[in-house]
């Protein structure tokens, strides 16, 4: 399938601190890909590179087949960008900001914007800097829907939103992206939201990608295993077993390996009576990256 977003061999440092080395990924047309990672693993760095606001140390990124550094400005009409914190021009009100952006986009969908704005309990002349974060998120979302881009890049869309606004945002975005065959690349700290929204996920750890696969496949394979162990038990490192830990003589570990294989490996280490359960995306994320 054709990749609408493609990053090849990205390497970036802040000073001497390596953010990632040789990171490559692609987002096929019509898919929603979520980038998951702990703080400082490079999520916003990736968004900044994708939106052309950061020059990586090496590697290249393409959106709609154009290299980001040399992108034709008119191609940006096809790319919707949501900046972390739903940043918009604070000095404008909802009418002014609509009038401003409409001049840049020939296929501007004014109705889509005002349909969403009608849900907000704000006066038409209320300035954006006097709105709550939730209201600002709706303004930002409304502007993206009106722009009607082919590709959406959303940086931490759930930041500062209460559950109601988060759910509204997620449901609107999912429905819109699926109905219009949009390609979406996004990050969020709230992983439950990602579970509702994304088709594929990339889980990043410091400096590398841990997992890149469809969420359905990840949740279909990923399991949490628990068992009682004797005091002083130490799990020996073994491939395919993620973040084993012992808390109060309870061993917990995660794996995507077949259940029988994990049981056999644990049995070799003297662990019996193993409980296994399916997990949601948040637990899978914790299972892959650990609890700090």
């Amino acid at each position: 399938m054709e990749n609408i977003i493609e990053c090849r061999n990205l390497t970036h440092y802040y000073g001497k601190r390596l953010i990632y080395d040789n990171l490559s990924f692609g987002v096929p047309r019509g898919r929603i890909l979520g980038l998951l990672g702990k703080n400082g693993t490079g999520k916003t760095t990736t968004i900044n590179i994708l939106s052309g606001f950061l020059q990586p140390r090496s590697g290249e990124c393409y959106i709609l087949g154009e290299k980001i550094g040399n992108m034709n400005p008119l191609t940006r009409r096809k790319i919707g960008l949501l900046i972390e914190g739903h940043v918009q021009y604070q000095f404008m009100n909802i009418e002014q900001i609509e009038r401003f952006y409409a001049s840049f986009y020939p296929n501007w969908k004014r109705e889509a914007y005002y349909e969403l704005m009608s849900r907000l309990k704000v006066a038409p002349h209320q300035r954006i800097n006097r709105m709550s974060c939730g209201q600002r998120s709706q303004v930002a979302l409304g502007l993206i829907l009106a722009q009607d881009p082919e590709v959406l890049v959303l940086d931490d869309f759930s930041l500062g939103l209460d559950p109601g606004y988060r759910r509204l945002f997620v449901d609107y975005m999912r429905e819109y992206a699926k109905a219009e065959d949009k390609t979406v690349f996004l990050t969020s700290h709230i992983i439950q939201d990602m579970e509702r929204l994304v088709d594929d996920c990339i889980v990043m750890d410091y400096g590398k990608i841990l997992v890149q696969m469809p969420v359905e496949e990840l949740l279909g394979k990923f399991r949490r295993y628990t068992a009682q162990v004797s005091e002083g038990f130490r799990m020996q490192d073994t491939d395919g077993i993620y973040t084993p830990s012992v808390i109060r003589q309870t061993l917990e570990l995660f794996s995507m390996l077949p259940e029988a294989e994990v049981r056999a490996r644990l049995s070799l280490q003297g662990v019996a009576d193993v409980q296994v359960e399916k997990v949601g995306l948040e637990d899978a994320f914790i299972g892959l990256t650990g609890k700090y």
Binding site: P73, L81, I83, Q90, F100, S103, F104
Partner: protein, 223 residues
């Protein structure tokens, strides 16, 4: 698209522009009022004598007004862009980043002209009624570097405000202050006359400095 950028800048700055226009006109009117008082108390001949013998131009209080207006204007226009780094929104618009910046600076320079020209016109109109052409041109030409300093203050403050890192911003600020000193080096009237065209060109060249800040912003430079 340029019209839309002008619209955005207008929304941001319209109240300040009104205030700046009033301040600029107010100071000029006050300077003219002082001249008018001297004329009514001691007669226009006294004014002429003082101007020729003591090198007085009677509008010294205007010296730093355009500079302050230009500096504050750039702050009003560019600091909101850097707040939450919303300048990213401008750079994501479907136009060349340099064109977007050039539009913003063109708006600013046009507005500076709009703020300064009425003040100069006010002086020109009034001074014609009390002074000979040589004398009122003497005053207006002596004030010209101050108005160029206003333009320079605007462009240099834009350069400082758009710079993404604090360390470099402080360095730019120091360089900016040194560059602004050029406009106030010679205290005697009409000292800059021969240098005025070149000074105007140098002033316009300061707009290129903002492109450096823009490039650094796009490269992701941060503290």
């Amino acid at each position: 698209m340029i019209k839309a950028i002008f619209y955005k800048e207008w929304i941001k700055t319209k109240w300040y522009l009104l205030l700046a226009l009033l301040v600029s006109l107010g100071f000029s009117a006050y300077a003219m009022l002082r001249i008018s008082r001297v004329c009514s108390l001691k007669g226009a001949e006294h004014l002429w004598v003082v101007m020729m013998q003591r090198d007085a131009i009677f509008v010294e209080l205007l010296q730093y007004v355009p500079l302050i207006l230009g500096l504050v204007f750039a702050i009003v226009q560019f600091v909101p862009e850097m707040h939450h780094r919303s300048f990213k929104l401008t750079l994501h618009l479907p136009m060349r980043a340099t064109s977007a910046l050039a539009s913003m600076l063109s708006f600013g320079m046009s507005m500076m002209v709009l703020v300064c020209v009425p003040a100069l016109l006010l002086m020109w109109v009034y001074l014609q009624s009390v002074l000979a052409p040589e004398l009122y041109w003497h005053i207006l030409l002596s004030a010209m570097p101050w108005y160029l300093a206003g333009m320079a203050a605007y462009l240099l403050t834009a350069w400082v405000a758009l710079e993404p890192t604090w360390g470099r911003r402080v360095l730019n600020l120091v360089l900016g202050v040194l560059l602004l000193r050029i406009y106030f080096l010679a205290p005697s009237p009409e000292a800059y006359n021969d240098f005025l065209p070149l000074l105007a060109i140098i002033t316009l060249c300061y707009s290129i400095l903002s492109v450096l800040s823009l490039t650094r912003f796009r490269d992701g430079r941060q503290d």
